[in-house]
């Protein structure tokens, strides 16, 4: 190139460079004017919040952080444990949520800084936010039972986070000889899915009745009562007489120790062996909630129940199991309901408007057998300070109903599962 052409070329590049830089700067400015919401956790709560934020305001920049490539739901995982369904039945993809414009990032959030307004991922990347929604689910208080630990769960599963633990428990039950004992220890309150352990007992009993009829189930519960107890016991009497022995705190005290080598649980009053042991430990909020300073002494996250904004860190909302939302139980449906309310509240707050009065719902089906279902439901309002049950609404399925009624609820349970997962993950 001649001198002239090179100078001219440099001038042109220089000009276009400036123009390019200006355009990029302009685009960046335009981009950062869209409020950025980062949602931590892609379960029932987080996935709902992320896609509802986009629904309520498509111009929002929403990022969903979820470690798993796909999500295995705890609801209906008992059907996988009992061999009724394959694991694919409970596996949800993030493709539809991505298609709705949510940026799904498969990584772990290691820190949420409410002051700097950024989330740090395990790969070191920082995501800035205008508002953050944290839906980390639960973690286990392993030290509440002597001898228990994360490592032990490979031999003595909790299967209270679905996925590999679900398959492990299924494998163990399949390998168990006829005449064996399935020993299950539900946790103390509050915990994720109050009727879950009883449903698990029911469906394992169903599997045993069909394939291993000499086997027994023993439950060691640290509580006096459990969710839907009357209905479960009515059903067990009818469906699995003599197979299930449910010992509550009055009968056997509390499980204090697990001796994994001996496949034994030690209570205040007894030492009980099991061929398969399902130890569901006491629970607390997911780890990120602790490391980010969102929890209180209870081990759960206090929030403004109108908006689910943390009462500890403004600008950060906590929904689902990790939040303190009683009287709502810790359930997937509760989490999803809170996700919708939280999304609406955030959209209003970003516009400088007063968030609306919320309304919440929970409904939860439990299967005692493939054709025997029961339900609990409740509708919740807000009295200006707290979530309250709407008087006269909700409650359990009635007692003493015939097989047709129970079969109808089992069919609705299946339809419910399809509907809610489609509502959330598409």
């Amino acid at each position: 190139m001649s001198e002239f052409t090179r100078r001219r070329f440099n001038q042109l590049v220089g000009t276009s460079g400036v123009m390019a830089a200006t355009s990029i700067a302009a685009l960046t400015i335009l981009k950062t004017t869209s409020p950025r919401i980062v949602v931590v956790g892609g379960g029932f709560g987080g996935a709902t919040a992320a896609q509802y934020l986009k629904r309520f305001n498509p111009s929002l920049d929403v990022t969903l952080i979820e470690p798993n490539q796909s999500y295995s739901t705890c609801p209906f995982s008992n059907t996988v444990i009992a061999g009724m369904n394959d694991i694919s039945f409970i596996t949800q993809s993030y493709d539809v949520i991505r298609g709705k414009g949510v940026n799904v990032v498969h990584d772990i959030a290691v820190d949420i800084d409410a002051t700097k307004k950024q989330v740090t991922l395990s790969n070191g990347k920082c995501l800035a936010f205008d508002r953050c929604v944290v839906a980390p689910g639960i973690d286990f208080k392993f030290d509440s039972i002597e001898g228990n630990s994360e490592a032990i769960t490979q031999k003595i599963p909790h299967a209270w986070k679905a996925g590999t633990q679900t398959l492990l428990l299924r494998k163990q039950l399949m390998a168990m000889p006829d005449g064996g004992v399935f020993l299950i220890s539900p946790p103390s309150n509050p915990f994720r899915c109050p009727p879950g352990p009883a449903e698990r007992i029911s469906l394992v009993a169903n599997y045993f009745t069909e394939h291993k009829p000499k086997s027994k189930i023993i439950a060691l519960d640290p509580k006096k009562k459990f969710g839907k107890e009357g209905l479960f016991k009515e059903g067990w009497q009818k469906l699995y007489p003599g197979m299930i022995e449910y010992r509550n705190i009055d009968e056997d005290g509390v499980v204090r120790e697990v001796v994994a080598d001996k496949m034994m649980l030690v209570t205040d009053l007894d030492k009980v062996n099991g061929d398969v042991i399902n130890l569901i430990p006491a629970q607390k909020a997911g780890a990120i909630a602790f490391s980010s300073g969102l929890t209180d002494k209870s081990g759960w996250c206090p929030v403004d129940q109108r908006t689910f904004e943390s009462t500890i860190h403004k600008g950060v909302h906590v929904i689902g199991d990790a939040s303190i939302a009683s009287p709502m139980p810790k359930s997937g449906v509760s989490a999803s309901s809170q996700g919708k309310v939280c999304a609406a509240a955030i959209v209003a707050m970003l516009k400088g408007e007063t968030p609306n009065t919320p309304k919440f719902i929970n409904h939860c089906y439990s299967l005692l057998a493939p054709d025997y279902g029961i339900s609990v439901a409740m509708v919740y309002g807000y009295d200006g300070k707290n979530i309250t049950k709407i008087n006269g609404s909700g409650g359990l399925s009635p007692f003493g109903r015939d097989v047709d009624f129970r079969e109808r609820e089992a069919l609705y349970a299946d339809g419910w599962y399809q509907s809610i997962t489609q509502n959330i993950w598409g």
Partner: protein, 109 residues
């Protein structure tokens, strides 16, 4: 003097706007009410397998059904317990939203 009249006008407007904003904030938005329905009846109320669809229902029909569930005139396994959680106004809002915003389906009603 124009100044105090201007202030009075602003005050009058605020007196009208602020309570309206507060009243609006007191209402549960339609999308949240309907969100409760979709959690069982699927997105857009399309239903799934044994879960009945509610999409495209006429507002008057849905209103009638919800009230019949609520007072027990129409038998149900779970709907009475749920319908009882919504006021007449909320049922009206839900019905109008479903009729207007969900895909209509050919139905014999």
């Amino acid at each position: 003097m124009r100044f105090p009249i201007f202030l009075l006008a602003v005050a009058a407007i605020l007196v009208i706007i602020l309570p309206t904003q507060r009243a609006k904030a007191d209402q549960v938005p339609a999308a949240i009410l309907v969100g409760a329905c979709f959690s069982c009846h699927g997105d857009g109320g399309k239903g799934a397998r044994a879960m009945p669809p509610i999409n495209g229902m006429k507002a008057s029909q849905l209103e009638m059904d919800m009230k019949a569930f609520r007072n027990g005139k129409r038998k149900s396994t779970i709907m009475q317990r749920i319908a009882a959680g919504f006021t007449e106004v909320e049922i009206k809002v839900i019905s109008e939203y479903i009729a207007k915003h969900t895909q209509s389906v050919k139905r014999n009603e």
